[in-house]
């Protein structure tokens, strides 16, 4: 798959999903053959769809599909992600009951729940029918809601070392995908702001001519560029370390854009009408999934202390 093919995938997915609701988007992506592409070339599949999702804020999420494909699990269609700002699950398995504490996509499919059973990790399936609680979350279109409670165990899919390895791969795959999506939401926030400060005049000149404004946007550009390179580089070894680094840099870019772009968009960016808040909502929802910036940094720091991060990660 070369750059031209990727552009073609992007174009087709963009056209097929335009203006659809969450169900329509899911069908369009399936009909396009995205899941086949995911099996064949996950880099191409994930980098195109998640970038598109962040760019136009497609409703719902394909994170479940990416993580399940990575683990080779066909017995579930959704994943109960650990609570916000956590990489490690806090759900527990006790006999035939699963005490679930997680985040899921709206829907009625079987849920894979990573959980602790006597202190060791297990990946189990649970039937769950829920459209989520009534009312709206911060970003209703993202389709994530809290799942808490006592569910009946379907079956144990993986346990012991196999579960540990599968979860590590799933988490890394999820973080790579989220990194691509956050890079794209950041790029839109930056683009909206560059347009605004180029047109909007105060004190007789465009806002963008003031050095303070330039410097704030230069920082957004620096971290957005770094995050884009890190998301691409995470596919080179597909390791946990490079995925954590990609997501950490994506969170940095997103955080910088949320803060600096909002400030520079001023009163206009604070209206419902301006698209900024929709990107802000999506960014705030995605950043803490599978661990936010501090969680990833602490994890990287521990790995570094144990000599587990190769000196020449991302080789020439």
């Amino acid at each position: 798959v070369d750059a031209e093919d990727l552009a073609q995938v992007d174009k087709s997915l963009r056209r097929a999903t335009r203006g659809l609701d969450v169900g329509g988007v899911r069908r369009a992506v399936t009909d396009f053959g995205w899941y086949e592409l995911l099996a064949e070339d996950p880099h191409a599949a994930v980098s195109t769809l998640f970038t598109l999702q962040g760019d136009v804020l497609l409703p719902g999420s394909f994170l479940d599909g990416v993580m399940l494909a990575e683990a080779g699990v066909a017995e579930a269609s959704r994943v109960a992600l650990p609570p916000l700002d956590h990489l490690q699950p806090t759900s527990t398995l006790c006999g035939h009951r699963v005490q679930v504490e997680g985040i899921v996509q709206h829907g009625d499919g079987t849920v894979l729940v990573p959980c602790l059973s006597d202190g060791t990790l297990a990946l189990v399936s649970c039937a769950a029918e829920d459209e989520g609680p009534p009312g709206d979350a911060l970003d209703p279109a993202a389709g994530w809601h809290l799942l808490r409670g006592d569910l009946h165990l379907g079956s144990v899919l993986l346990d012991g070392a196999e579960a540990e390895q599968a979860w590590a791969r799933m988490a890394a795959a999820g973080r790579r995908a989220l990194a691509h999506e956050l890079v794209a939401t950041t790029a839109v926030m930056l683009r909206l702001t560059v347009e605004h400060v180029t047109i909007r005049e105060q004190f007789g000149r465009p806002l963008g001519a003031f050095q303070t404004v330039k410097h704030a946007l230069a920082d957004v550009r620096l971290w957005q560029e770094s995050a884009a390179l890190a998301a691409a580089a995470a596919w080179e070894d597909r390791g946990s370390g490079s995925a954590a680094l990609a997501k950490a840099l994506a969170c940095r870019a997103s955080r910088t854009a949320r803060q600096n772009c909002q400030q520079l968009l001023g009163g206009m960016g604070f209206t419902w009408e301006h698209p900024f808040h929709r990107y802000l909502r999506r960014a705030l929802t995605l950043e803490p999934l599978l661990g936010g910036a501090r969680v990833q940094q602490a994890e990287l720091g521990r790995a570094l202390r144990h000599g587990m991060v190769p000196m020449s990660l991302a080789q020439l």
Binding site: D2, A3, H43, L190, V194, V197, T198, R205, P206, G208, A209, F210, Q211, V213, K214, H215, L217, A218, D219, R221, L222, E225, S226, A227, L229, A230, A232, W235, E236, D237, G239, S240, G241, A244, L245, A248, L249, R252, R294, Q296, Q297, A298, E299, L300, G301, R302, A303, L304, R305, H306, G307, M308, V309, P310, M311, S312, L313, A314, Q315, L316
Partner: protein, 408 residues
């Protein structure tokens, strides 16, 4: 957190496929010009391993400046004779040919194996490419092999008391004298000029108001009469800097680099080189200091601070890798290198702020050589957002030339 650290180049990446693949051929006793980055890496690792005993004496060159110079010079010569330092330089300039990216592979592997950068590694990458590109062929063919062999060292005469970030306003004057030039004026913050054999000097040859259009680059011998070198101690206590006074110094016409009044192009080329292989060397070193900090039992840094430092250095490494690859492919990365420079100062300062937080007793009150090293690195890191184009200038360039915001 383990990750594959093999020697296979990343596949599926169009950028990697294009680089550095030169035809594999024997270029001298015992050395075959590598066909790829991966082959160069493996061959050099093997060579380092099999020459471990010979190289041991270079591992710690000590603290005495004169002795450090001698040791690094000997290391440079050894690596030149074995051919490694000649990889990626044209044969006409004393090299063995092959893509320039080989130079970055060699410098990284050497650092990873725990050796200091040889004698003129920095100069080689900052000034070498500019001299190779802009000097008359016979001059380049004379001086570059000497630089690569470690027989001489060069300095960079750019900044002046009145021209730091605003380099285009420099005033050191070069006036014509027949075919030659006479130079009068001042330079400052010139690193290691007291040891340098040559200087790449920027001088004003146009009118006072000609700004960047009236500057010419010269390559002059530091033993030319009329040059006074005054050491200028830096705040970390190093004698790295000098201030230079030029009093009617005669520079032959054949020592002009590039075009008369075309020195700005040479200066920009040097700055790009600084952000290419030289920056790559620096990020390797910064990463090794982070490893030192993470392994130091005295350091009370939080996991998150260490991880954030790694995150910032990863950003720098990826930006720098892109630039090194582009330069090796003969592309001009242009204003994108301002991103590299800003990432470099941000990550370097963050790393040593983290060190200061975790090793406060050592850095503030410690008296051991190790404490002195951390203290020196911390203090030196403060300059990283000042030298080579201040962070403010980089942000302006990113905003105006990359984002397209209006010039003020």
């Amino acid at each position: 957190m383990t990750s594959h650290d093999g020697t296979r180049p990343a596949s599926g990446c169009a950028r990697t496929r294009g680089i550095s693949v030169s035809e594999e051929r024997r270029v001298g006793p015992g050395l075959t010009l590598p066909g790829s980055v991966a082959v160069a890496r493996v061959s050099f690792r093997e060579w380092l391993e099999s020459h471990r005993a010979d190289l041991e004496r270079f591992r710690d060159p000590g603290a005495d400046v004169e002795h450090v110079y001698e040791s690094l010079r000997a290391l440079q010569r050894l690596l030149f004779d074995a051919g490694w330092i000649r990889l990626g330089w044209p044969e006409s300039l004393g090299g063995l040919g092959g893509a320039p990216i080989f130079r970055s592979v060699i410098s990284e592997e050497l650092a990873l194996a725990g050796y200091p950068p040889p004698f003129s590694f920095g100069t080689q990458e900052v000034l070498g490419p500019a001299v190779a590109t802009f000097a008359r062929p016979e001059l380049a063919a004379e001086v570059l092999p000497r630089l690569l062999r470690g027989e001489e060292t060069w300095c960079q005469g750019f900044s002046e008391p009145g021209a730091g970030s605003d380099l285009g306003s420099l005033r050191l004057r070069a006036g014509p004298d027949g075919d030659d030039w006479r130079v009068t004026g001042e330079k400052v913050w010139t690193s290691w000029a007291q040891f340098a054999d040559r200087c790449l000097l920027l001088a004003r040859t146009g009118s006072v108001g000609s700004a960047h259009r009236g500057i010419t680059a010269f390559f002059l011998d530091m033993n030319t009469p009329g040059i006074e070198i005054v050491p200028l101690r830096s705040m970390n206590g190093d004698d790295e800097f000098c201030s230079l006074r030029f009093d009617d110094v005669l520079v032959p016409g054949k020592r002009v680099l590039g075009q008369v009044d075309g020195g700005w192009a040479v200066a920009m080329f040097v700055l790009t080189g600084e952000r290419g292989a030289a920056a790559w060397q620096r990020q390797v070193w910064l990463r090794s200091r982070l490893a030192d900090l993470a392994a130091d039992p005295r350091a009370s840094c939080s996991d998150a601070a260490l991880g954030e430092s790694l995150e910032l250095l990863h950003a720098l490494r990826l930006l720098s890798r892109r630039t090194v690859r582009a330069l090796s492919d003969g592309e001009n990365p242009g204003e994108l290198t301002s991103l590299d420079k800003l990432a470099m100062s941000t990550s370097e300062k963050f790393l040593f702020d983290t060190a200061l937080g975790g090793l406060q007793d050592e850095i503030v009150l410690g008296t051991s050589p190790d404490a002195a090293t951390w203290r020196n690195d911390y203090l030196y890191s403060r300059a990283s957002s000042i030298y080579g184009g201040a962070a403010e200038i980089q942000r302006n360039i990113i905003a105006e030339r990359i984002l397209g915001l209006p010039r003020s």
